[in-house]
Symmetry: C2
DNA sequence: AGCGCTTTGTGCACCCGTTCACAAGCGGCG
DNA sequence: CGCCGCTTGTGAACGGGTGCACAAAGCGCT
């Protein structure tokens, strides 16, 4: 242990990564419950709705404080607020999408962005034929203006939806502008300074992981000695 | 742990999840190297290109066997083959995309699918106005025909790109058809039997995770223009 | 008011994954 | 032909995450 370690577990920075990755799921479920007029919910019910174990859920929530009433459950609206605050969603984030191909189009129109305090501030592409066109009510700007756009709008998160070949350069320019969070859809490994967070979404990788399990299941149909097909194969939920 | 029998079994089922999630990354990097005519590569170089530690990479590869020559490195083409085989990519998989909205469009045109033995066999939507249109050289079929399409094409992987409200029903029908692998882009928790693998890709969740780290960075350091490394700011870059 | 039922919050043990460090193995060079 | 340097493969320590089981703590009913 390192007691001198600055990680004060009671604080926001002390929330484990695995928990942070699940909080948005809880948030969505709770939002639906709130819309349905449900006032409170137990950890068991919420865990079932979120697809996790109830113990895990309670431990997750305990990391942000002791909100919740024993014998009753959690106040839905209050919990929504607390999770939102813990995730930093009470702030406003400006997002720039670079690369307005098929995927960029889809992202620009994705409703899930706006619903949680994220604002798509700009669409950027290198193709001059696209520049000036309007997508999702927004005008596409040219890649040359990236630095200016980031500065003007105060972009804090960059979404890279370019071809793989352009991704690293775009990323470098974003980082040079001061952007410290990048969501990368290009099938490439981005190298960034460790002050920058990069999350990756790769459709091809997801499919290959599924293929592995598919093949494993198919192999189990015949003969496999030892632990043939463990049925602990729970539906996994992974991202990044 | 399997020194004696290790050579024969290959242990496909014994590959840890975390390793499986990284193998596609190695595969992509190796593919690029092979195209570049590189004959062999060391674990250090490959690890750097894949954005992981070299020890981790070696341990990952060791799970599929002892391919690799000490003092030299790995034969690129041979390793490509071995990883492909371990992932089950030597087989052919038929993919059906359900929901041809913005995202479904992007997925249908995504080149990364075809490059690894995945074939988009069908595009399916519930909107009769879309049915019959051609996207990415393929005709959109109606949701009513889902069962028939799955059976005819031997679809083994279903990709759900529908609105959240329709996702569970579509998923249930896929499962009923015998599909055991689902890639879900809808922002919902799908409940499936344990025999079915579900992987989830949620753009909104990724953004919220980034927001958390963004907020943490902002709160922690105040203003530190210099790249002075603070206490324990471990912004570990990518995670599968 | 007190009692018992319900549900939270958490200490603990286990397991998976990561990292370190090093012996084993292979090729090349003298 | 034997030695040396390089790289793999892996045993072992470490840390984080998960699940169990239970004590603490409200609420409603009597």
């Amino acid at each position: 242990m390192s007691p001198s370690d600055g990680a004060r577990s009671g604080r926001r920075g002390g929330i484990p990564e695995a928990t942070v990755a699940r909080l948005p799921v809880y948030l969505r479920v709770l939002g639906a419950l709130a819309d349905g007029g449900v006032p409170t919910i137990s950890s068991d019910a919420l865990a079932a709705a979120a697809g996790v174990g109830s113990a895990k859920l309670r431990k997750d929530l305990s990391h942000l404080g002791s909100y919740g009433t024993r014998g009753v459950g959690y106040d839905v609206e209050y919990l929504v607020y607390q999770i939102s605050r813990a995730l930093g969603l009470t702030q406003h984030y400006c997002v720039a999408i670079i690369g307005v191909g098929n995927l960029g189009h889809a992202l620009a129109n994705y409703a899930g962005f706006a619903t949680r305090g994220f604002e798509v501030a700009a669409l950027i592409d290198a193709d001059t034929r696209l520049v000036g066109q309007r997508v999702a009510g927004m005008e596409i700007r040219h890649l040359d203006d990236l630095e200016e756009i980031v500065a003007t709008h105060g972009v804090s998160i960059g979404v890279i939806a370019t071809p793989a070949a352009a991704a690293q350069e775009v990323c470098d320019r974003l980082v040079a502008c001061g952007v410290t969070s990048v969501l990368n859809f290009a099938p490439t490994v981005l190298s960034v300074p460790d002050t920058v967070d990069v999350r990756k979404v790769d459709l091809s990788i997801e499919l290959q992981i599924l293929a592995f399990h598919e093949q494993r299941k198919a192999a189990g149909g015949g003969r496999t000695p030892g632990a043939a097909v463990p049925d602990d194969v729970r539906s996994a939920a992974v991202s990044a």
